[in-house]
């Protein structure tokens, strides 16, 4: 991988985004308004509202529109006024995208996807190069759309990728700090802690510390980092803990029922109030339950566990958007050496493409034309989730099959039947 190639890809990616931002002045606001891109907890429009209140010395959570982390406010108010200097916000978002791509390149360069401490894939080295992976991430329409739509989940995605990149490089402290930032911004990344700790441990195994001690230390780092961040937020929002209920509380209780590409909103619109808390607990339990199982089952390949978990989160988390899918697809492209083992890649990608065409059409029929209803859009979000779950389960299958073929060489190339 030459620097020239990498720089070329980054330059084209930056240029493409700048063209989209400035040659089509209506596009950023159009994408910002799309429910597929902006969720109640990541929308740039809501951020602007919070920012306005914050800059006018009003408590930003007044008005019930802004549900994002308080520390985003000083970050964005540091940027020059967006009406007179419209260049800075796009530049910040483009920079974040590049950092994410760079983190992916580092993860790819470590070769962790093909060869971890405990496992070496027979297909090691057949995967794509870091350059291709970065290009696949940067030129993925979903990544571009979330960048131009300026959703704040790109910060979370960048922090997650950065955490993984640091973990595979052996810098567990940096990884934990990055994960704390991601968790602080979006809460759900805290569930990635167990596989990430395992990944960092595997990459530093030469230090001969025990897993338990290592984990305890890292959990302490995350806890400490999170308490500092939350303490700063406490001070920032007028010495009150009320912001917790307005940010993480919204995600936990799903009080904002704006449609998203996920599965929660419709379910909780239909729900009778008396069952609400039960199903909320159940949905969260379902989301969290994958962490333990996958960390144990994929103990040999913690990076694969992280990739699969991110795929699952992008389907089942309370406010998912296409930005979460782009993160999963970024990690998915690390596993191209397993493509021959996957069975439904074509069907899954065709399903995703169908859903991404039909989704906006059905949303239009529901909201603008008035000739459809909410069921139209919900049906498509189901298809979208189906496509993603096909991809996630196919990736899991391929990873496990790869391991299985090492354990039982006589079965290489034979049909595997599910019993």
């Amino acid at each position: 991988m030459t620097f020239r190639g990498k720089a070329g890809i980054y330059a084209i990616a930056v240029l493409l985004r700048l063209v989209l931002f400035f040659a089509f002045p209506g596009l950023p606001d159009l994408l910002t308004g799309r429910v597929e891109i902006s969720t109640p907890v990541t929308s740039f429009k809501r951020l602007e509202e919070g920012l306005f209140l914050y800059n006018h010395n009003v408590w930003p959570y007044d008005g019930g529109v802004y549900h994002q982390a308080p520390l985003l406010l000083p970050l964005f108010s540091l940027l020059p006024d967006s009406t007179s200097w419209p260049i800075f916000t796009p530049l910040l978002y483009i920079l974040i995208d590049l950092l994410s791509a760079d983190a992916l390149v580092k993860i790819a360069a470590s070769g962790e996807a093909g060869k971890s401490r405990l496992y070496t894939s027979p297909r090691q080295g057949k995967g794509s190069t870091g350059l291709v992976i970065a290009a696949a991430f940067l030129f993925n329409p979903l990544t571009i759309a979330s960048c131009v739509g300026r959703t704040t989940s790109v910060f979370t995605n960048c922090a997650i990728l950065f955490a993984i990149a640091k973990a595979v490089q052996g810098f567990s402290f940096h990884a934990m700090v990055a994960l704390s930032f991601a968790s602080y911004l979006s809460m759900y990344p805290v569930l990635l802690l167990p596989p990430l700790v395992l990944l960092a441990y595997d990459r530093r195994a030469y230090q001969k510390t025990s897993v338990l001690k290592f984990s305890a230390l890292n959990v302490l780092v995350v806890a400490g980092c999170l308490s500092v961040l939350l303490g700063m937020s406490y001070a920032l929002t007028g010495n009150s803990w009320e912001f917790l209920a307005r940010t993480y509380g919204i995600q936990l209780t799903l009080t904002d029922l704006t449609p998203t590409v996920g599965l929660w909103w419709y379910f909780f619109i239909e729900m009778f109030d008396s069952f609400r808390s039960f199903f909320l607990a159940l949905f969260w339990l379902h989301l969290a339950s994958y962490v333990g199982g996958l960390s144990i089952r994929l103990r040999n390949q913690p990076l694969a566990a992280l990739a699969v978990l991110l795929g699952i989160f992008s389907i089942f988390k309370p406010y998912p958007s296409i930005s979460d899918t782009s993160l999963f697809l970024g990690l998915f492209s690390l596993y191209t050496h397993l493509l021959p083992l996957m069975r439904y890649t074509y069907v899954a990608s065709a399903t995703l493409m169908y859903a991404s065409f039909l989704g906006p059409a059905f949303y239009h029929l529901w909201i603008y034309a008035g000739s459809g209803n909410a069921n139209f859009f919900y049906a498509i979000t189901l298809v979208w989730s189906l496509g993603q779950s096909l991809l996630v389960s196919d990736l899991t299958f391929a990873v496990l099959r790869d391991e299985w073929e090492v354990e039982r060489p006589e079965m290489v190339g034979k049909e595997a039947k599910q019993i």
């Binding site: 065709a350 493409m353 065409f357 029929l365």
Partner: protein
């Protein structure tokens, strides 16, 4: 269950399974077509009915008539005196008349540019405030100065003024009544509706000085000639093939037919004998008009804003006079006045076979979806085929295919196919741009040049391909697979928005599923010439000739539709169909045969 699964899995490995998709695909097209043809039968279509109970059509006595006839005659004289005057003067007079009986009046000017021409004019409208309402809802009576046919809408305007004066005296209105007099049926209404919903471009359209509440429905009158009529033509197609709620058509038809005894008809099928042929013809006419997506009358522009609207056009010679027409409008307005909420009960997606027979979306959609599915089936089939290792020996192929496994798939080279498909879709932007930006008088020349290029382009691309890349069979299959996949998913998306357009394009593009590179050179050229017969430019030209119009006029209309009304039919033609056709032709000419 597990046995069922494993037998299904072994069926997947059956070599016969890999032969089935082309037949399946053909069956999809055939069934899709037959599906559409059986729709007019009694078994598949239903009688229309009124779904919204609040409408209560024909339940009230209408009082328009009697002395109103004298008022009407007076207004007719005034309107006749305005004949041939310019819009400003006409609007001055209409404004004076409206103000004369106490209606608030607003005016709005607009200028649009399309196909090098400028469309400008001035709307005048009055708002009759409801005595029992709170100005949160309104119904609109549209009366363009020019009819759809282009003549002066004299009787219509006089009748609207008479009705306005008459409505003003009644105290029963719970919704405001807006009277809109645009200078002509297409541009003026579009400008007015855009501005009413604050969706106008302030550079071209001025805002409305006066507004009322949410529009609940609209009726347009198209009544040029001063003679007695026999039947009522209900025009209902909206922009981009959107349709008004079926309840509105039914209610108006019910008031006309059952209360006033005036039969009504649709889609210009004056002599509808309720036979299979007539129903089919009506349905096809409806589909054609829906597929083109252009404006059908002054009501069309309302429908994208979710305001249900129809145009009423008196037809034929008979004994019904203007007062009868007025009573139909009065009855319909009384029905709309009853509405407690927006029309939502009945269907928004339907095909009408006659005024009182229809099929709803659930019944007709499968035909377009089957057509779209045929492309997807072929795309998946070609993908699977492209992944199989080419047979080395013919004899052991049978044994091999039974133990076909995952490691047997060969690597696919997807870069060139993806580049060809993406490139041709990018090229589709060029015709889209030139046909919507060029001035009207160069459009026919541009079309001729473009058609020539469109025919030559596949030849050049395939020549370049064969001389530089030596593309493999697998690349040919993948190119076709990707192209058909995009076509299939675009068409199935389109089918939910504009069924007819999707069906028409799907049918015209269906040969693309089956043409493939062959070893024999004559057959290859036969395929190519067959494809050039169904090329989008050829079809557009043929359509213009069959319709008896000039290609230039057709393109000018399309450019007008795109620039002023936001019709997206050109995107479907140049951005979906034409690229698929180009890739199909390149595939036949430039790739090696299997």
């Amino acid at each position: 269950m597990s046995r069922l699964l494993s037998s299904a899995l072994s069926l997947r490995r059956d070599p016969r399974m890999l032969k089935a998709p082309p037949y399946l695909s053909f069956a999809c097209i055939l069934i899709g077509l037959i599906w559409l043809l059986v729709l007019p039968l009694d078994e598949y279509s239903r009688r229309t009915y009124i779904s919204e109970n609040a409408l209560l059509p024909g339940q009230v006595h209408t009082y328009f008539g009697g002395s109103e006839q004298h008022v009407f005659r007076a207004y007719k004289e005034e309107v006749a005196a305005l004949s041939g005057k310019d819009t400003h003067e006409i609007n001055n007079n209409i404004e004076e008349i409206l103000k004369g009986f106490g209606v608030k009046v607003g005016r709005q000017s607009y200028t649009y540019g399309a196909a090098g021409g400028a469309y400008s004019g001035e709307n005048v409208y009055g708002i009759l405030q409801a005595p029992r309402g709170d100005a949160t809802e309104a119904i609109v009576l549209v009366c363009p100065w020019k009819t759809i046919g282009g003549s002066e809408n004299r009787v219509g305007v006089a009748l609207s003024l008479t009705l306005a004066r008459y409505f003003k005296r009644w105290s029963l209105w719970s919704k405001d009544i807006i009277l809109l007099f645009p200078p002509e049926p297409k541009v003026g209404t579009q400008a007015w509706v855009d501005a009413y919903h604050d969706a106008h471009d302030p550079r071209h359209v001025s805002p409305l000085p006066l507004k009322s509440g949410a529009l609940q429905g609209a009726l347009a009158i198209d009544y040029p000639d001063d003679h007695h009529f026999s039947t009522l033509h209900i025009i209902y197609d909206g922009v981009n093939g959107q349709l008004p709620n079926l309840d509105l058509i039914n209610a108006v038809g019910w008031v006309a037919g059952n209360q006033m005894g005036i039969p009504s008809f649709i889609q210009g099928q004056y002599n509808h004998q309720n036979t299979y042929q007539d129903r089919l013809k009506t349905m096809f006419r409806g589909m054609l008009s829906q597929g083109l997506g252009n404006v059908a009358g002054a009501h069309s522009s309302f429908i994208p804003y979710h305001v249900d609207a129809v145009t009423l056009q008196p037809w034929g010679m008979g004994h019904q006079d203007e007062m009868a027409m007025g009573r139909v409008i009065e009855g319909s307005f009384r029905s709309l006045n009853n509405l407690l909420e927006h029309l939502h009960q009945s269907f928004f997606f339907y095909l009408l076979m006659s005024r009182d027979r229809f099929v709803s979306i659930g019944t007709y959609l499968p035909s377009a979806m089957l057509l779209a599915a045929n492309f997807t089936i072929m795309a998946i089939f070609l993908w699977v085929k492209s992944g199989q290792a080419p047979k080395t020996e013919g004899d052991d192929s049978k044994e091999k295919s039974t133990t076909l496994d995952t490691s047997n798939t060969v690597e696919r080279d997807m870069l060139l196919p993806a580049a060809i498909v993406a490139g041709s879709h990018a090229l589709g932007m060029i015709p889209l741009f030139i046909f919507n930006r060029l001035p009207g008088d160069v459009l026919p020349h541009a079309f001729a040049i473009f058609s020539a290029i469109s025919i030559v382009l596949p030849l050049i691309v395939s020549h370049l391909l064969t001389s530089f890349y030596k593309p493999t069979v697998q690349q040919s299959q993948l190119t076709k697979s990707f192209s058909l996949l995009v076509l299939g998913l675009s068409l199935s998306t389109l089918a939910t928005l504009n069924f007819s357009l999707s069906f028409i394009i799907g049918l015209l593009a269906s040969p693309l599923s089956f043409v493939q590179p062959t070893k024999s050179q004559p057959l290859r050229w036969a395929f190519a010439s067959l494809l050039s017969l169904i090329a989008p430019p050829t079809i557009v030209y043929t359509a213009a000739v069959v319709a008896g119009a000039d290609v230039g006029d057709l393109l000018r209309d399309a450019s007008f539709g795109w620039n002023v009304l936001g019709v997206y039919t050109p995107v479907a033609i140049w951005g979906v169909w034409w690229p698929a056709w180009t890739v199909g032709t390149v595939n036949v000419l430039g790739f090696a045969a299997a």
